[in-house]
């Protein structure tokens, strides 16, 4: 058991990050090469200025009209995405592990704050799931995979929350926590989670078509 834990806390972390970052890099290079080969016109229309203008406009909370028309979903979704990165990266116990391995560290979130924020992430995911059942137009689009993706993201946060409180089966919960975190990293490049890479690209292209060619706003 100890050697298994050593594996998932050691080499497996490396493997996960290599697949996560390597997978996204290969995907990006693949997209850029395919654009060059099959749709080179895209390079004629994409401009850095209009790409950043569009991405920037969509990063400002409640700036796009679309965001103002669905404020609850947008607000929750926006916070969720921020916390998704913020909580794991600034969690004291994660920073301790990184410090042990690389002798680097950075300021951590207060444990109690992190605990509440973790609950926030879980609540947001429950909201997304409920929305998929309750809102007819979202329900119409939803397939089994959408719930699987929600569960996959929820698992590391839920087990992290349980592990912190050490209510039940601490050791097992921690193992599931580590494994599920690694699983999410590994599947990012191969699932719709890769929108973390492709969404800025589609936004940049649309932003450029609107800004550069159409001389209109796209938010």
């Amino acid at each position: 058991m100890n050697s298994f834990i050593a594996f998932i806390m050691g080499p497996m972390v490396w493997i996960s990050f290599i697949i996560f970052l390597g997978g996204l890099t290969i995907k990006l290079v693949g997209i850029l090469k395919a654009v060059r080969q099959k749709e080179p016109y895209i390079y004629s229309y994409v401009t850095l200025k209009h790409s950043l203008r569009s991405i920037g406009a969509w990063m400002i909370p409640f700036f796009p009209r679309s965001a103002r028309m669905s404020p609850v979903y947008y607000g929750i979704s926006y916070l969720f995405h921020v916390l998704l990165f913020l909580v794991p990266l600034f969690l004291a116990s994660h920073i301790v592990l990184i410090n042990e391995a690389f002798q680097i560290s950075w300021p951590a979130l207060n444990d109690q704050v992190a605990d509440w924020l973790t609950l926030g992430v879980i609540a947001a995911l429950i909201f997304f799931a409920v929305r998929r059942v309750m809102v007819p137009e979202v329900k119409f689009l939803t397939g089994a995979m959408d719930y699987v993706l929600i569960l996959l993201v929820m698992l590391p946060f839920l087990t992290g929350f349980l592990a912190y409180h050490q209510w039940i089966a601490y050791r097992w919960i921690t193992v599931i926590h580590i494994l599920s975190g690694e699983l999410v990293l590994i599947i990012i490049p191969f699932s719709r989670f890769s929108h973390m890479l492709t969404a800025p690209l589609t936004r940049a292209y649309m932003g450029s078509e609107f800004g550069h060619v159409r001389q209109a706003k796209d938010w």
Binding site: I31, W58, F140, H195, A199, R214
Partner: protein
């Protein structure tokens, strides 16, 4: 204003039905695979892989809003019911599926691109719907009326079977009539080296010849050095662009630009049409491998703005009735001309009231993107599918609706009639013609 969608009888289109009769499962699979594999690339792949099924596009779509938020009409659902299914089954789809797919792509989407502005990722669903139309074109199941306009383009290079001599005849007829107002007025044909080639869409000579008259008086009064071609290439409309017949679409645009090149004009000015503008300033050039059009293409709205701000024409007395302005997709969301349009309206009219939403966010007329060109069999459902527009217009309380685009104009005329809105509909050119000083511009005067 509450017709339920189910109350509309779904007609059977003879072109769709006879096309479907000819198809075999092999042929269907082969065409879909060919288009999806060879005619798409990473852009298509990214759109399919990036959509998170969040449903935010629903709020953008006038079809969805007009049909009491029926999920079938939301943009992503239209993709789900066409492209996703074709991908999932690798082209192995039934004729019933295709019958529905043609209707979705041709009659339940105006390709207005409003949804691209409501998707956080900027996924271009209009592009995906045009891809479905491309597949329908290759399967030869395009709706009859719009296919006929493409056939006309193919034979005559104009949309409405206008014969070469009829075209010249109509211009001369309008020239003669306009000489009642301006003694020396000419519609100069094939004047090589003129500053401006003025171009129109085929419905103008076919049944709106008065618009040629108005444009000629405007050009004459403003003292422009202009010309119109006497040969095919005068029509800037492009219905093939909307049926996915890219080859004919490219041919039309090429003939158009070559006509301008033959006349060695400095720029092309065009009448109040949206899709035609888009076809020459943004689409036709791409098919013919120009990043940007080889000529400066000026839409009527920008041209009016230029004439009025330069003082080449002046307004005698402003138009008195309360007016509102419809922003056509292809000139507003499509080219950002909405602010210039407002300046012109304010220079010409006394009492202007906005409709909401407006500018890039305006609702589509429901006619554009080739929908109205699918013809009278589909008019009833077109009216049901654009209830939201009627409500938006009614809320302005305006007496006159300005619609500076042919498609919008025809579509909104139907909406006004169907929903019994007490509103007149005008082109911006109509109002300028009515209110301008009928005298010839003299520099420095």
């Amino acid at each position: 204003m509450t017709d339920a969608p189910s109350s509309v009888e779904k007609p059977t289109d003879p072109a769709i039905e006879s096309g479907l009769d000819r198809l075999t499962p092999d042929r269907i699979r082969q065409v879909i695979q060919q288009v999806l594999k060879n005619e798409t690339g990473p852009r298509f792949k990214a759109y399919v892989e990036t959509c998170m099924r969040c449903g935010l596009c629903a709020e953008a779509c006038s079809y969805f809003l007009s049909n009491d938020r029926d999920p079938q009409f939301m943009p992503a659902a239209k993709v789900k019911n066409t492209i996703w299914e074709m991908l999932k089954k690798d082209g192995d789809v039934s004729k019933d599926f295709l019958r529905r797919a043609v209707r979705i792509a041709h009659l339940e989407c105006n390709a207005c691109k409003r949804c691209a502005m409501y998707c956080p990722f900027g996924i271009d669903i209009a592009y995906l719907m045009l891809l479905v139309r491309r597949i329908c074109h290759k399967l030869e199941i395009t709706p009859q009326y719009i296919q006929d306009t493409v056939n006309s383009h193919s034979v005559t290079l104009n949309q409405m079977w206008v014969k070469d001599d009829e075209w010249i005849d109509t211009l001369q007829w309008q020239e003669e009539d306009a000489r009642d107002e301006f003694e020396d007025l000419q519609i100069p044909l094939d004047k090589v080296g003129a500053d401006i080639m003025y171009s129109v869409i085929a419905p103008e000579p076919k049944f709106q010849a008065g618009l040629l008259y108005q444009a000629a008086t405007l050009m004459h009064a403003a003292g422009m050095n202009w010309t119109m071609p006497s040969t095919p290439g005068w029509d800037n409309s492009n219905m093939a662009m909307y049926t996915g017949d890219n080859e004919i679409s490219g041919r039309i645009a090429r003939a158009f630009f070559e006509t301008a090149a033959r006349l060695r004009v400095k720029r092309i000015v065009m009448g109040e049409c949206g899709h035609a503008f888009r076809s020459v300033y943004d689409m036709g050039n791409r098919w013919n491998s120009w990043v940007m059009p080889p000529f400066e293409v000026v839409h009527a709205l920008a041209f009016y703005h230029e004439l009025l701000t330069q003082g080449r024409i002046s307004i005698k007395e402003k138009y008195k009735k309360k007016v509102t302005l419809h922003d056509p997709c292809n000139v507003s969301r499509g080219r950002g001309l909405h602010d210039k349009a407002r300046e012109v309206v304010n220079m010409v009219c006394e009492d202007f009231v906005e409709m909401t939403p407006n500018r890039e966010h305006n609702y589509c007329c429901g006619a554009g993107g080739g929908v109205i060109n699918c013809g009278p069999p589909y008019k009833a459902e077109r009216m049901v599918n654009n209830r939201v527009k009627a409500e938006q217009l009614a809320a302005t309380g305006a007496d006159v609706l300005i619609a500076p685009c042919h498609n919008c104009h025809s579509g909104l005329e139907d909406v006004i009639q169907h929903y019994d809105l007490k509103m007149e509909i005008k082109f911006l050119g109509d109002l300028i013609y009515d209110t301008m000083e009928k005298k010839i511009y003299e520099p420095g005067a």
